[in-house]
C-alpha cells in the first residue's frame, strides 16, 4: 500500500479488475474437472444439447422424424445403414432418437423454467415476509407436495388430453412447489445473515434486499436443483409418454417411443433399448452435472 495508490485514480485492465472472479471460475473449473463423474455429466449434457441444437442436420434420415416411413425396412436390427435399427414403420431409430433430444430437452427446460419461475418468487416472498403471507403460501405449497406428483400429472393429462403442451402444463403444476420449499428454506437462513440486517440498517427497501441480497445467495442451490430437475422432468415427461399421454405422433419423443417399443421386447430389443438409453444418459448427465455443480457451488447443501 503506497501513497500513490491512494491519490492517483486507478485504471485497471479488464483482467485485473476481474481478477478475483477469474480466479474463482478457475477454481470452479479445477474442482469440477478433478471429478470424473462431474466431467462425464458435463460431456453428456453438452452432447445432448448439441443433438438438440443440430439434430435435424445430424440425423441420417431427417424425413423419418416428420412422419415419413419405409415399410419395406420394418424392424431391421442395427446395421451400417441404420445404426440403431428401424422401428415398426421402418423409420430410422437413430434419427428419431437424435431429434427426440430436442423434444425432451425442450420439455425439461420448460418444466423446470416454469417451475422455477413460479417457485422462486413465491419462496422468497414466503421466506422473507413471514407471518400470514408465509403461512398461506407454505400451506398451499405443502398441499401440492403432499399430492403424489406423477399421479396428479397423470390425472391432469388424462383430463386435458395427451400432447406435449398438456404434459408440460401438468408437470409444471406439480413441479413448482419444490422450488418454493427450497428457496423458502434458503431465504429463511439468508435472512438471518448479518449482511441482510446491514442492508436494512442502511434503509434498503424489501424488494431491494430480496433482489440484491437474498436471491444471489439462493442461486447456488437453485442452479443445482434446476440441473437435477432437468433430468427428472425429462424422466417424468417420458413416464407420461410411456403411459400414453406424451407427445403426439409423428414428433419423436423418447418416452412415447418406449411406450410403443415395449411391445417389441425382447426380439426387437433395439427399438426400446436406444430411446431408453437416451433417456437414461440424459438424465444421468444432468444429475451428474448437478451433483458436480453442487460440489463446487454449494458443498454443504444437501439433497432436498
Amino acid at each position: 500500500m503506497t501513497t500513490s495508490d491512494l491519490t492517483t485514480p486507478v485504471r485497471l485492465t479488464f483482467r485485473e479488475r476481474h481478477e478475483s472472479r477469474i480466479r474463482q471460475l478457475r477454481l470452479y473449473a479445477y474442482t469440477f474437472a478433478a471429478s470424473f463423474s462431474s466431467m462425464l455429466g458435463l460431456v453428456l449434457v453438452i452432447l445432448f444439447l448439441a443433438l438438440a441444437a443440430f439434430g435435424p442436420w445430424l440425423a441420417p434420415y431427417p424425413e423419418h422424424t416428420t412422419g415419413a416411413f419405409n415399410m419395406a425396412e420394418r424392424l431391421q436390427p442395427p446395421s451400417a445403414d441404420h445404426w440403431f435399427g428401424t422401428d415398426e414403420m421402418g423409420s430410422d431409430i437413430l434419427s428419431r432418437v437424435i431429434v427426440g433430444a430436442r423434444t425432451s430437452l425442450w420439455i425439461g427446460l420448460l418444466i423446470t423454467g416454469i417451475g422455477a419461475g413460479i417457485g422462486i418468487p413465491l419462496g422468497i416472498i414466503a421466506g422473507y415476509a413471514g407471518g400470514w403471507t408465509r403461512a398461506a403460501i407454505m400451506r398451499f405449497t405443502e398441499l401440492f407436495l403432499a399430492v403424489p406428483g406423477l399421479a396428479l400429472a397423470l390425472a391432469i393429462v388424462a383430463a386435458l388430453g395427451p400432447g406435449i403442451t398438456n404434459c408440460v402444463i401438468a408437470l409444471a403444476i406439480v413441479w413448482w412447489p419444490g422450488y418454493v420449499r427450497l428457496v423458502e428454506a434458503k431465504t429463511l437462513s439468508v435472512k438471518e445473515e448479518l449482511f441482510v440486517e446491514s442492508a436494512r440498517s442502511l434503509g434498503a427497501r424489501t424488494p431491494w434486499i430480496m433482489w440484491h441480497h437474498i436471491l444471489p445467495n439462493c442461486w447456488s442451490p437453485i442452479i443445482v436443483k434446476m440441473s437435477m430437475d432437468m433430468g427428472m422432468a425429462i424422466l417424468a415427461a417420458a413416464s407420461l409418454g410411456f403411459i400414453g399421454l406424451g407427445a403426439r405422433p409423428p414428433a419423436p419423443e423418447w418416452g412415447a417411443m418406449i411406450s410403443v417399443a415395449r411391445s417389441y421386447m425382447p426380439d426387437w430389443w433395439w427399438y426400446s433399448f436406444f430411446p431408453g438409453a437416451a433417456i437414461f444418459l440424459t438424465v444421468l448427465g444432468f444429475n451428474l452435472l448437478g451433483d458436480g455443480l453442487r460440489d463446487i457451488l454449494d458443498p454443504r447443501s444437501r439433497e432436498r
Binding site: 491512494l6 485514480p9 486507478v10 485485473e16 478475483s20 446491514s198 442502511l202 434498503a204 427497501r205 440484491h212
Partner: protein, 548 residues
Amino acid sequence: MSDLLEIRNYTLDIDTFDGPVHVLKDIDLTVRRGETLGIVGESGSGKTVLVRSVLGLAPKRARVVNGSIRFDGTDLSSLNDKGWKKIRGVRISMIFQDPMTYLNPLFSIGRQIGDVIAAHNRATGVSMSAAERRARSEELLDQVGIPDPARVCDQFPHQLSGGMRQRVLIAMALSGKPDLLIADEPTTALDVTVQAQVLDLINELVAKLNLTVIMISHDVGAIATVAKRCAVMFRGEIVEEGATEDILRAPQHDYTKRLLAAVPEIDAPLAARDEREPTRPLLEVKGLSKTYATKSSGGVRAVDDVDFAVSQGEVLGIVGESGSGKSTIARLVLRLVEPTAGAVTFDGSDITALNGEALRQMRRHMQLVFQNPHSALNGRHTIGDAIAEPFRIQSKLSRREIEANVEKLLDTVQLPKAFRYRYPHELSGGQKQRVCIARAVALKPKLLLLDEPTSALDVSVQAQILEFLRDLRAELDLTYLFISHDLAVVREICDRVLVMKRGKIVEQGPTAQIFEMPAQDYTQQLLASARKTAPSSLLADAGLAAAQ
C-alpha cells in the same frame, strides 16, 4: 524432568488450489514431563495445526515435509490406527475450543464419557462393568467441579451451559489419566467470568494430577495464567520461546513486542480525554423493553426497561456478558427489531413512531457496525458494490458519482482503490471491518453503533481498528455507541460506560468512575475476572509464584 514430547524440524504444508501453503516451518519444541507450556499466536499462526499434528489429527490435505514428533520415545508419525489407539486419549488427550460443537449433540454426557472410558479400557486391557464406568464418569465430572454429576450424566449437551460443557470436555480428556494434556483455546468461546473459572480449574488440576500441559491460545493473558513456559508462534514459526514471565517482561522478537503492545490493558492509565461541554443528547432511550415469546409462559425479557442517553460527540460503552441484551439494544435503537415497550428519541424525534419511508430516511443518520465483518458483507458482492450500496439505496447519485464516492471512502478507511474489485473472502478480517465501517459512514451518519466491532479480530488488528475508529470520530464528528464484552477495550475508547446484566442496566457512569470505583457487586466481579487474565496483573502473580 525427562523429555515427554520432542518436536524436531517439523515442517508441514497444506495443499491448496493455489499451491502448497507452508503452515508449519521447521518447528523445534520440547516438552518435559510435568511442565506447562503455552503457545501464543494469532489466527493463521499454525498453532492449532501443530498441536493436532501431535495427535495425528492434521487436516486432510496436510503433508509432512520434514521433521519428526516423538512422544515418550515413540515416533508418532509412524503410527498406524492400532498404535494410535494406545496413545489418543490414553496418553495424550485434548481439550477443545468450542465445547458445543465438540460434543455430539445426540448422546447423553454419561454415554459419551462412558464410551471414552470403554475405549481406554480396551486399549489398556482393563475390564470394567457398565456400572463401574458410570461411577468413574461421575467421579470425573465431580473432579472437574460439576455439581450433581449423577444428574449431568443423564443430560444432553444442549442442556448445559458453556462453562459446564467445557468442564465435561475436560473430564473426558482426563478420563484416561493422560500423560500429556493439550488444551486448544479452552477459554476463547466463554464469557470473562467463566473464563476465569475454567483457567482456575486447569491450574488446580495441573497441581493435583501433576499433568503435563500444552495450552494454546491467542490470549496472552490466558496463557500466562496457566503456562510457566511459553512459545510465540507467528506465520508457522516459533519466533520466541522462554519462561512466560521473561517474555512478558522483556520480549525479544519484534512480533512479540508488537503483540504485547497491542493487548489492551485494563489498568492502563486513562488517556486524557478532550473534555467537551455536555451537549444536548443525540439519542435518548426511555423504558425500552423487548420480550421474546417462548413456549414457556412469560417469554424472555432480552431488554428490560432500559434508560440512557448519548450526547452529541460522546462515546458511550455498553459492557456485558453474552445474553445481557447489549446487542439487542443496538437493534432496538435502529428499529431493526421492534421494541415491546419504551421510546427512542433520536435527534429530537421519536423514532418508535416512524414508519415506512420516514423510518428509511431516518436510518441514514444512524449506522451499525457488526461484530463479524465476514458475515456482514454479502459474499456475492464486490467490495465496490458493498460500499456503493448505501448510495444506491439512499441517494440518486449517478453511477459515476457513486464510483467517485466509493474511491473516496476506500481512501478514508485506508484501503487501496483496487479493492473495489475484490470479494470479501479475499480480504483479511481487519480489512473487512474497514469496509464495513466505510459502508456505515458512507451516508455521513450522526450516530455510529458499534456492536463488538473488534471481538472477531486478532489483538494486533484490534488495536489498529480501535486507533482508526478514534481518528475517524475526530474526522467525521461522530457519536459512538460502543458495545463490547471486553472491559479493557471499552476502557480504552469510551467516555462513559454502561454495565448490563440479563437485560437490565446494572450501573452506568464515566469510564474512570466505573473502572476505579465500581459501585455494584456485578461490576466488581467482572473487573476482577478481567484482571485475572490481564498480563500486567499476571506479572505480579508470576513474580510471586517464582518467589515461592
